[in-house]
């Protein structure tokens, strides 16, 4: 037969041939299509969250820094500070305030005796200003109560820029609530005066962020804290009002004392309320991480599979697994135990992809039914028989398997540092994996052999325990905090899931980025 005609006939027959399509083939394709669609979305969400998180932290950090710089610059432009006119203990406080800069003033509002003293010192430092006055500002209980309320609200704010702006950070808005028309006038007059004559005896409101008092060509420092601008305005209001009182009015001086005590009490009570309100927090976070595996050695794996009229046995020579960078998602709630400690619990879901490369020898047996002619007693006859064809060769299997782990993290957070805008916490605890699943895409039944023998069936132990530790940097915003937390997770018990290629411990090193909501704010 000529080759060309042979080829033509074969081609024609082969091209027309249709093999039965296994049931469920379309469903498998449809499912794969869906999965493929989901992946870009998954990576998009993860990427966008990460970028947004980092950008927010960066932006807030930058802004905070700029504002600090501005405050410092302003401070540098001020006249030299002179504390000589203050009593000794007041000078110490003022000097301390000077050195400590912005952070110290935060503490001026508080419930401790030290803090009370600071509040007192600020208020008491102002009899020197009792030159001009406006009796009406403190003479009525209504007015005084307005000032006190302003202070208390201020003290509650503590890191809360949004709330504070509602009170009085906006120039002329919150302040005007507290000040009479007469005082507003006197403030603008003071501003004018500072340009014309630095030696004005009246309290001078330099801007909304600082408050200095000038007397006899000397400037008396009250506070430098930029972040406490709200407090300063409020304190300055009190001070101005006190300062404007005639020094002969002993009745008013006693009122000042009682107002002072009242302020301190209200601050303490407000702080308690504030703490109570921040008792519960809610976390949501995304953690890109690098999984690090610690394999339990496997000598070899045998895969057996059987299909229609064929079977295959495969024994590995080489096993290589590699875990891919992954992402986990977590939600959790935390309860404040005291100023330093928090306890938390939550849920975490992680999917870890595992690249598996197996190299080994495959023995495949295919069975064919044939008709065979045999010489029977009644003469030659055709009988059905089966031929087995065995082939042997090297087979490499690549698969992308995955772990899906649902865990409950129980954490303890210890507040290491607490700044006005930032805080640093040590985070640690135990993670209990309550449901684990290994999705093995390699077809057939896998049996692994290790130094201890054969593992025909897995324990299907889907739980595991990990220890974790991290350092959480939080940026405080109004009713939430943004955080970034480099973390390490150490797998104690290892994973032994059904259909795993080999048992292993999976440790994780990653960076959590998320938001903490302050419940009740």
């Amino acid at each position: 037969m000529k080759n060309d005609s042979f080829d033509d006939i074969v081609r024609k027959k082969v091209l027309d041939h249709e093999a039965p399509v296994p049931p469920g083939a379309w469903e498998a394709i449809a499912q794969k299509k869906k999965k493929r669609k989901r992946y870009p979305l998954f990576w998009w969400i993860t990427g966008v969250s990460l970028v947004a998180g980092i950008a927010s932290l960066f932006y807030i950090g930058q802004n905070g820094f700029k504002r600090d710089v501005t405050a410092n610059e302003r401070q540098n432009k001020q006249q030299p500070v002179n504390h000589s006119a203050l009593p000794v203990y007041e000078k110490e406080f003022a000097d301390k305030n000077d050195k400590a800069g912005s952070g110290t003033a935060v503490e001026t509002v508080g419930a401790t005796s030290k803090e009370q003293e600071k509040v007192s010192s600020v208020i008491e430092a102002n009899p020197v200003m009792e030159k001009t006055g406006d009796r009406s500002l403190l003479s009525g209980p209504g007015k005084r109560s307005a000032v006190v309320t302003g202070l208390v609200r201020d003290s509650v704010i503590e890191n809360d820029a949004a709330t504070s702006s509602a009170v009085s950070t906006q120039p002329g808005k919150g302040e005007t609530e507290l000040l009479s028309n007469e005082y507003s006038y006197s403030r603008s007059k003071a501003k004018k005066n500072i340009a014309e004559s630095p030696g004005n005896a009246e309290p001078v409101l330099v801007n909304n962020e600082r408050f200095d008092v000038s007397l006899n060509n000397e400037t008396y420092f009250l506070s430098h804290d930029y972040f406490q601008s709200v407090k300063m305005v409020e304190f300055s209001t009190v001070i101005k009002k006190i300062g404007m009182l005639p020094d002969t009015d002993s009745l008013l001086l006693s009122r000042i004392d009682s107002a002072k005590n009242e302020i301190v009490e209200m601050i303490a009570s407000a702080r308690k309320k504030s703490l109570k309100r921040e008792k519960w927090t809610f976390d949501i976070s995304v953690t890109p991480f690098l999984p690090l595996q610690q394999n339990q050695p496997v000598l070899y794996i045998i895969r057996t599979s059987a299909g229609n009229m064929e079977k295959s046995e495969y024994k590995t020579d080489k096993i290589h697994t590699r875990l891919e960078p992954s992402v986990s998602y977590a939600i959790g709630i935390q309860r404040k135990i005291n100023q330093r400690l928090k306890l938390g619990i939550g849920f975490q879901y992680a999917m870890i992809k595992e690249k598996v490369d197996l190299t080994g020898q495959e023995t495949r047996t295919t069975y064919h039914e044939i008709q065979r002619l045999v010489n029977g007693s009644g003469g030659p006859q055709l009988i059905l028989d089966t031929i087995a064809t065995t082939s042997h060769g090297l087979l490499t299997i690549d698969a992308l398997n995955s772990y899906r782990l649902l865990s409950i993290p129980v954490s303890v957070q210890y507040n290491l540092l607490h700044n006005q805008g930032w805080s640093l916490q040590l985070d640690g605890g135990l993670v209990a994996t309550i449901a684990g699943n290994y999705h093995n895409k390699i077809q057939g039944k896998l049996v692994s052999f290790d130094s201890q023998g054969m593992h025909t069936s897995r324990h299907k132990r889907s739980n595991a325990f990990d220890l974790f530790a991290g350092l959480r940097f939080s940026k405080n915003c109004s009713s939430f905090r943004l955080f970034a937390e480099p973390m390490l997770r150490y797998n104690l018990s290892g994973y032994d899931l059904d259909a795993m290629i080999n048992r292993k411990s999976i440790h994780q090193a990653g960076l959590s980025v998320g938001i903490t909501y302050l419940i009740g704010r």
Binding site: F6, V10, K13, H17, E18, P22, K32, E310, L394, T396
Partner: protein, 174 residues
């Protein structure tokens, strides 16, 4: 139908699948001779077809284009296995050449089965050259072999196929 598939309409894709799945499954099994692996290639092939269907410009038949997609995936899978192009002992070198009539009598399934029974190297070259119409140079590039090897493999494949067909034919004739 193709336009609808380009728009990623699931119904159209399903119709396309149902129309060509049998032929493509046959192609896959001809290359890999393993039900499970053939099924995997079928899935991958249709995924690729749906993904790149916009690249089909209407030159030549759509089925031909699909065959090329499926064949390239099958070859990629086979290459992972490190194909052997060693010669196989012929059962009977002196088999008489049979006329086209005998082959014509065989069913499509029989021919398909015979091709599947060829050793991997023979089968791959035979499929690529005879069925898909690739030249020896193209096959050489695809499989990283020399064109001469491709030619030899084809000759031997053809010979072995004829031997198998004749054997079958003789058996039945007796």
């Amino acid at each position: 139908l193709i336009q609808e598939c380009i728009k990623n309409k699931p119904d159209a894709q399903r119709i396309l699948f149902e129309k060509y799945a049998g032929k493509m499954m046959s192609l896959c099994k001809r290359y890999v001779n393993d039900q499970q692996q053939a099924q995997d290639i079928l899935q991958m092939g249709f995924m690729k077809v749906f993904e790149y269907i916009h690249q089909y410009k209407g030159e030549g038949s759509f089925e031909g284009w699909m065959r090329k997609v499926f064949a390239s995936i099958a070859i990629r899978q086979l290459k992972k296995k490190k194909m052997s192009f060693a010669a196989v002992d012929m059962l009977d070198d002196d088999i008489a050449s049979e006329g086209p009539a005998i082959i014509s009598k065989l069913s499509e399934e029989d021919i398909h089965q015979f091709i599947r029974n060829l050793p991997t190297g023979y089968r791959t070259v035979f499929n690529l050259h005879v069925i898909e119409g690739y030249s020896h140079d193209e096959i050489a590039m695809l499989l990283n072999i020399k064109p001469a090897t491709s030619r030899t493999q084809l000759l031997k494949a053809r010979k072995l196929l004829q031997v198998l067909i004749c054997k079958r034919n003789n058996t039945v004739k007796v």
